[in-house]
Symmetry: C2
Subunit: 165 residues, 2 copies
Amino acid sequence: MTPDTPLAAVDVPGRPCSMAATLQVVGEKWALLAVRELLYGNHRFDRIARNTGAPRDRLTARLRALEEAGVVERRPYSERPPRYEYHLTEAGRDLVPLAHALRAWGDRWLVPEPPVTFTHAPQGHEEHPFDPAFVCRTCGQEARRGELHAEVHARGWSVEGPVDL
Amino acid sequence: MTPDTPLAAVDVPGRPCSMAATLQVVGEKWALLAVRELLYGNHRFDRIARNTGAPRDRLTARLRALEEAGVVERRPYSERPPRYEYHLTEAGRDLVPLAHALRAWGDRWLVPEPPVTFTHAPQGHEEHPFDPAFVCRTCGQEARRGELHAEVHARGWSVEGPVDL
């Protein structure tokens, strides 16, 4: 599902840009690390705080902002005392490619050995290492340097030549 | 090329994580927006400052940090006065999937109409809209909910069940 109306009203600096808009909503470090823990199945505040290393007040503020933006939802798991778990909404689960893109770059450029790897077990295939790539759905190929051209629809903002892949 | 040694020494909060490492090096908003402008072919400070809307002092600091981390390099274009352009290194250009992941999420969830779209023109194909999908290179399929399993190699840190795609 694509939403009929945007999830949140976002004011971006500089050129009109969806990348900048995403950064305004989920780009803060503790927000993305909280999303990571939700993807990893850790839904309770104490566990999220421990696994991210986030200061509790910062984490509380980021989870509230993510909830207001529609990325995270709270679900009660205890009535007395009232206690909540945090879960990703559909928009939140759609951050998986972003999480993999962040992880893949760090695996390649920053760590001696990947601390977490993934296996992929789709129906009809043996379980195998998950090796994520960005592929163009239209032609089924990975984009290579010089093959992508930007079309800017916002007036007064330009992009010079092919994208410098 | 994969580097023999990590690009930068990074200390991450919480669990050992390549995603957190990436956020430490390039996760700040102005850093990623500067990378966007370099991908768009805008290499000079004034243009980058205008197009990102970044405060000049913050942008100077981020570009210096990106240069120290090996993501950006400066190239002289004038000797008197000395002037430099900023270009992405190979590690910097490898941020393209991250840029597309950020943009795709914003296009889907935050903006009424995408302000920038891309066309893809690989050899042997007609130019067509670029529609990035996250595909497993090993099997050629997009990962769906419940199909990815994390293997944690760092001791003492767990992931609960399948990844909540």
